[in-house]
Symmetry: C2
Subunit: 104 residues, 2 copies
C-alpha cells in the first residue's frame, strides 16, 4: 500500500527514526536517550496524526511485527522498542549502529 511504501521510504532516508506517542513515557525515554547521544532522530508522533496515526501503527505492525510504541529504526533496520533500544545501549552496541547509519 502507499502508506507501507511511505514508511519504507522514511526509514530508508532517515538514519534514526522513532515512531512515538507524545504523552508516552517509554517514548520519551527513547527520545531522551538519543538526545543524550547528540542524535536528532526523525520523530513521528502517531497521536498527533489523527486517523493516519492508527493506520501507521497497523502498517508498522505489518512491516515489523511490532504494534507498540516507541518503534525505533536505525539505518533502515528495525531496532525494536524502548527496552530493546536501552539494552543495545547498555551493551555498547547502540552507538556503533548510529555512527554507521549517520556516517559519523
Amino acid at each position: 500500500s502507499t502508506l507501507e511504501e511511505s514508511v519504507k521510504t522514511t526509514v530508508a532516508e532517515n538514519p534514526v527514526v522513532v515512531y512515538s506517542k507524545s504523552w508516552c513515557s517509554y517514548s520519551s525515554q527513547v527520545k531522551t536517550l538519543f538526545g543524550k547521544l547528540q542524535v536528532k532522530p526523525l520523530v513521528i508522533e502517531l497521536d498527533e496524526l489523527g486517523s493516519e496515526g492508527s493506520q501507521l501503527q497497523n502498517v508498522l505492525e505489518k512491516l515489523t511485527g511490532q504494534y507498540t510504541v516507541p518503534n525505533v529504526f536505525i539505518g533502515g533496520k528495525h531496532i525494536g522498542g524502548c527496552s530493546d533500544t536501552l539494552q543495545l545501549y547498555n551493551k555498547g552496541e547502540l552507538e556503533p549502529l548510529i555512527s554507521e547509519a549517520t556516517g559519523k
Copy 2:
C-alpha cells in the same frame, strides 16, 4: 462534584488504588510491582471508561495536582506516579506504607 466525591471514597475505602491506562507501560510497571509484593490493588483503567475516564483524569489532577497516569494511592494517601512509587520501593519505604494500609 459527585465524581470528586467518588474518587475520595474510592481511595478511602481501598488500601491500594492505581488509576491506570491499560496499554501504558509505566502503568504496567506499577501493577507488576504490586503483584510482586503480593498486593492486589484496585485498578481503574481510565482508557476503558470512555468519556468518564478523561473526566476522572481531570478530577484527579484537581485533587492531587497530578494529571498523568499511573496515579497511585496507598491508605488514602496520594503517592504519585511510577517513578515516585519505584523510588519509595527502592528506599524500603513502600512496603511499610502498604502493611499499614492493609493492616498486615
